[in-house]
Amino acid sequence: MFIINCPYCGDRDQTEFSCHGEAHIPRPTETKKMTDEEWGEYVFFRTNPKGYHRERWLHDHGCRRWFNALRHTVTDEFVASYKIEDPRPPIPDNGGQS
């Protein structure tokens, strides 16, 4: 049960949020010109790293705002959470230990 920092509301309990997978995958434009492979890459393929992961979170039972977070998938440490329009925070170089 994590404590997650909503960039709009502050620290809240995990039960207020839902996770929606990898962040920074923009919807392609001119999709009709894409090959099946390119479209499949967008729809189906994700990085699923063991380590730091930028992912989308929704504060469902709160402000209902979407935001991104940088989380370590092994330690579950949240390094940063940031608004959709914010620049990506850097990945720490300590290998995920905290």
Binding site: K32, V43, T75, E77
Partner: protein, 1005 residues
């Protein structure tokens, strides 16, 4: 019966308050302050249960929550609870307990025959023996479950009330022994919010079982007083920390009124489940003594040394007059002294070749005989210890030699050292490290400072003398408070005199040899008492290659009983390490899992049970439906009217009547539960164009249009009608179950992909009450109660008009889910009941018939209208539904567009929606029935489709069905075969999906 083993004085029991209780039908007396275990022991009751697999007689081993043997069926009827540990049940007057796992009686147990065939019941026995043939498993299982297994579950509803509660604190201290009390006192001194949890009914921990009670009790009292001075401190007794999760989220079970007996708790809940979020955690959970693993070490009367000490010092019970203390370390010597001090005849058997002269002197002063470098090689006494045999150990400890001494005794107090309780730290994700000097694992330095900051202190950290425990606790408490931003007082800690002998130099002897090799002969070396696992089982596991600790655990079931191996895990690891010739840390540990001790489902559920389990949603007209005899159906969280049976009607006849009435006169349906979303803003139409497959740019103000939503995989996920209310203002409807999902879908895209668009979405599902009026007389009925011009030309199909209905403001949508002339009247929710009453009154002369969701389903199926989630399942495209007409060929972009051209969505022989007309018109196919290409006597059969909707249609005059069939659209007119689960085979003709008014004349009437 008299309390034959009760000491005349001493202990924390109140001899002026006798309590009566029964065990297996016999009546006994104990005292206030007893546990069920100590009271039974005081009465000389040693045989308390039968073991899990071999049905061997078993007695008490421990005095605390680690007890593996003394599991009781507590109380009767709805209050009965299986597998309660007698050591954790506080005695109350009238308590009723029964032993478990025996038949017909505890003294004479038929299942004990298992013991005679024990060599045929090795580890993995069930897996090996009952695997084949697989079909027989169901037969075997019944008998295995009966033969194994412990207590029985109650068959009646639980009458007790349980609560769940949340708490936050700066410093959470787990355990209120000397370390925990010192930690809490230090943390509280600077003003931090502190919570302290302890499973006992009083703080003090191990101190409660020490022989100099006066000084210990004064320390406990001092600490309690110090804590009471701080408003921010909460000390919870009878409260066990059961789980330690990420970010210092700790669950705990508080037994609020268990100790009062069933039904005596008044208005308090029976138990309270705490969910605590702490900034810092101090783990002061103590340690658990390990039994020595020697031949027949499970006889009733073989106990942990500290348990014997605790029964003497805390409960005033001498478990037996003749005590043999069997140890590999110094700590048990205190128990020998305490037993002798209280009149016991004591012998000490120490596996170490020599012990310190000071220990020897102390024993001599009490006339205690000492065997050095010796071991117990056998225990005599079927239903209780009668004597032990002692022989000299070889120098390497692998064998015994020389003369065997027979010592008469009724109690063996064994100590194989102490295992720090690392459960909490391990659950939190912390790692453990092995310390040779104490022959045990302790928490490694925390690697989880961010997600689970904690500090261990006291004996759970490997420090076994009280003074060090207090110092460590005080230090840890201060550190924790400091990290939370509080200045604490200097943490020196308290000090006082305790009669204790520290661990000393432990000399591990993980498996005590006997006169024959382990596993041969009839004697057994138990390490896991509750699951009946012996050293021989570990040897077998090793021989068969199950050497990894995780395999060892599952193959032998070591540590998998309700005690989770509190007394057994380390012994098992060490025995395996010896077999393999590796070190204990190389074998490794399994991860500890919550809960620390068993907890009731009632407590976990808390108040969210029964009618509060799921909160119902009711429409504004709900009361009217109840008054008019509706049966209800759950749709999501909503209660929807299902049908309205009249006198003498069953569901079928009610639904048939309602379905006919809609097509013959007029019916009304409460449609308030449909999702409704108000969409405004200058870019509103851009959003709607993106989420639906069809074109919306040219929709006129006041007009309605049906839309399908796809996910990016190209699969249908919702549908509904959206109406343009004004230039930049739309009213979207969704399925009842999909309302929240669609709202989330719109918000997701707006926030993450198109934040620059000016669109505002608001859920208005609960703001509008909706009645759908359907049928040829719908216009006449509406005409009577509205000021809107409802004439055919003024108010055409698929438009919306605003005005008054029944005197209240309304939006009326001329849309239809039945294929009949229909209006959906929307009024502000507060007028919902008024609207339905007005309609019912005005409808009398038109034979208005209220209908429910079941008739709605039949009516829409007669028209081939799909229900998303019933006729679709997340793998269905618009083309599969024969709805290519709704997919725009001109729009550049909409969600799921590119997936329409994927190879998979384009392939031939995809399942497609068709109608089915059974050969026998009276047969209503079950939904889910498979269409097969070949029929055989038993599955598997090649399946080419399945029925999604199926009803008896009174309007068509026969059964109708919708189905998904491979290449179905090209198969219309074909006859297909359906094979039902019960073996019936039916033929059906593939048809169009529209069974009534295929030209669509009625809806435009």
């Amino acid at each position: 019966m008299t309390q034959t083993h009760r000491l005349l004085e001493g202990g924390l029991v109140d001899r002026s308050k006798p309590l009566t209780f029964t065990f297996d039908g016999m009546t006994y007396t104990g005292y206030q302050g007893d546990t069920l275990a100590s009271a039974l022991l005081a009465n000389g009751v040693r045989l308390l249960g039968r073991s899990f697999k071999y049905h061997r007689p078993r007695g008490l081993i421990a005095a605390g929550s680690e007890e593996p043997n003394a599991l009781m069926q507590l109380e009767t009827g709805p209050y009965t609870e299986p597998n309660t540990r007698a050591t954790c049940v506080e005695l109350y007057d009238g308590l009723v307990a029964k032993s478990q796992n025996r038949w017909p009686s505890l003294g004479f147990d038929v299942g004990a025959a298992n013991s005679l065939v024990a060599r045929f019941l090795p580890a993995g026995f069930y897996y090996k023996t009952f695997m084949w043939p697989a079909s027989m498993w169901m037969t075997y299982e019944k008998y295995i479950r009966k033969a194994a297994g412990l207590g029985v579950s109650p068959t009646e509803n639980d009458p007790d009330v349980y609560h769940g509660t949340y708490a936050h604190c700066d410093v959470l201290v787990i355990g209120a022994g000397p370390a925990g009390l010192a930690a809490a006192t230090a943390a509280a001194s600077g003003g931090a919010r502190v919570m302290v949890l302890d499973e006992n009914n009083t703080p003090g921990g191990a101190l409660l079982g020490t022989s100099n009670n006066a000084a210990s009790l004064e320390f406990i009292k001092r600490s309690e007083q110090a804590l009471e001075q701080h408003e921010n401190v909460q000390l919870l007794t009878r409260t066990t920390a059961t789980g330690y999760y990420d970010y210092n989220y700790i669950t705990a079970l508080e037994k609020v009124t268990d100790h009062m007996g069933p039904g005596n708790g008044g208005k308090s809940p029976r138990q309270r489940f705490w969910k605590i979020r702490a900034k810092q955690v101090v783990v002061a959970a103590g340690s658990i003594e390990r039994p020595l693993v020697f031949a027949d070490n499970d006889r009733p009367g073989v106990m942990l040394a500290n348990a014997v000490g605790t029964y003497i010092n805390r409960y005033g019970v001498l478990p037996g007059n003749d005590v043999v203390v069997f140890t590999n370390n110094d700590s048990a010597y205190q128990v020998a002294l305490d037993a002798a001090e209280n009149g016991g005849v004591v012998t000490v058997v120490d596996t170490r070749p020599s012990v310190s002269s000071s220990l020897k002197t102390q024993l001599e002063q009490k006339n205690i005989k000492l065997f050095q470098g010796h071991a117990i090689t056998s225990v005599q006494g079927a239903k209780g210890v009668e004597s032990v045999r002692v022989m000299k150990l070889s120098a390497d400890g692998d064998s015994v030699q020389g003369q065997a001494w027979e010592i008469d005794c009724s109690v063996v107090a064994s100590s194989g050292g102490w295992t720090p309780s690392c459960h909490m730290v391990s659950q939190s994700g912390g790692k453990l490290k092995y310390i040779e000097s104490i022959a045990a694992f302790v928490p490694d330095e925390s690697r989880l400072k961010k997600t689970s900051p904690n500090i261990s202190a006291g004996s759970c950290n490997g420090s076994f003398d009280t003074a060090t425990c207090i110092q460590q606790g005080a230090r840890a408490g201060l550190d924790a408070a400091t990290r939370c931003g509080f200045d604490g007082a200097a943490a020196s800690g308290d000090s006082f005199q305790v009669n204790e002998i520290p661990l000393g130099t432990i000399s591990p002897l993980w498996l005590v040899p006997t006169t024959h090799p382990v596993g041969e002969g009839r004697s057994k070396h138990f390490h896991d008492f509750q699951n009946d696992v012996t050293a021989a089982d570990i040897q077998l596991a090793a021989r068969e290659g199950f050497v990894s600790v995780e395999h060892l655990k599952r193959y032998t079931t070591t540590g998998m009983a309700t005690d989770q191996g509190k007394t057994s895990n380390l012994n098992a690891l060490a025995i395996m390490a010896n077999i393999q010739g590796v070190s204990i840390p190389e074998v490794g540990t399994t991860t500890f899992r919550p809960p620390y001790t068993p907890l009731t489902l009632g407590a976990v559920g808390g108040q969210e049970s029964r009618e509060l389990f799921i909160q119902e949603r009711q429409t504004p007209m709900h009361e009217w439906h109840v008054d008019n005899g509706a049966e209800f159906e759950d749709v999501g969280d909503w209660k929807r009217s299902w049908y309205y049976p009249q006198a003498g009607e069953d569901m079928h006849s009610a639904v048939q009547r309602e379905t006919l009435a809609v097509r013959e006169s007029v019916g009304m349906l409460d449609a308030s539960t449909l999702g409704k979303i108000d969409i405004q803003g200058k870019d509103a139409v851009k959003l709607i164009e993106m989420v639906y497959t069809n074109n919306w740019q040219k929709l006129a103000i006041g007009s309605c249009r049906y839309g399908l939503m796809l996910n990016e995989h190209g699969m249908i996920f919702d549908d509904g009608v959206t109406t343009r209310l004004a230039e930049n203002h739309y009213h979207m409807t969704t399925t009842t179950g999909g309302a929240a999902r669609v709202m989330g879908w719109l918000e997701e895209w707006l926030q993450t992909e198109w934040p620059e668009w000016e669109v505002y979405c608001t859920s208005v599902t609960e703001q509008w009450a909706v009645m759908a009026i359907n049928g040829p007389k719908a216009r006449e009925l509406l005409q009577d109660i509205t000021d809107i011009d409802v004439s055919k030309d003024a108010f055409p199909f698929m438009t919306m008009r605003e005005g008054k209905v029944a005197g209240v403001p309304a939006r009326v949508y001329r849309i239809s889910f039945t294929g009949e002339l229909a209006y959906e009247v929307n009024v502000p929710a507060r007028y919902g009941k008024h609207l339905i009453e007005a309609l019912a009154a005005a409808g009398k002369k038109y034979d208005l018939c209220p209908y429910g969701t079941e008739a709605m389903h039949v009516l829409r199926a007669e028209k081939g209208f799909i229900i998303v989630g019933q006729d679709t399942d997340g793998t269905v495209t618009p083309q599969d539904m024969d709805m290519d007409w709704i997919v725009s060929k001109t729009k550049e972009e909409y969600l799921g567009n590119r997936s329409q051209a994927r190879i998979d969505t384009q392939r031939a022989a995809r399942p497609q929606l068709i109608g089915l007309l059974t050969e026998d018109p009276t047969v209503v196919l079950p939904e889910g029935a498979h269409i097969v290409s070949e029929v055989s006597d038993a599955p598997p059969m090649p399946t080419i489709g399945h029925v999604t909707s199926s009803y008896m249609s009174p309007n068509v005059g026969r059964s109708i069905a919708l189905a998904l069939l491979q290449d179905g659209i090209n198969r219309k007119g074909d006859v297909v075969t359906l094979r039902l689960m019960n073996g019936e085979v039916h033929k059906a003709t593939v048809s169009d999906t529209v069974f009534v008014d295929a030209e669509g004349v009625r809806v435009r009437g």
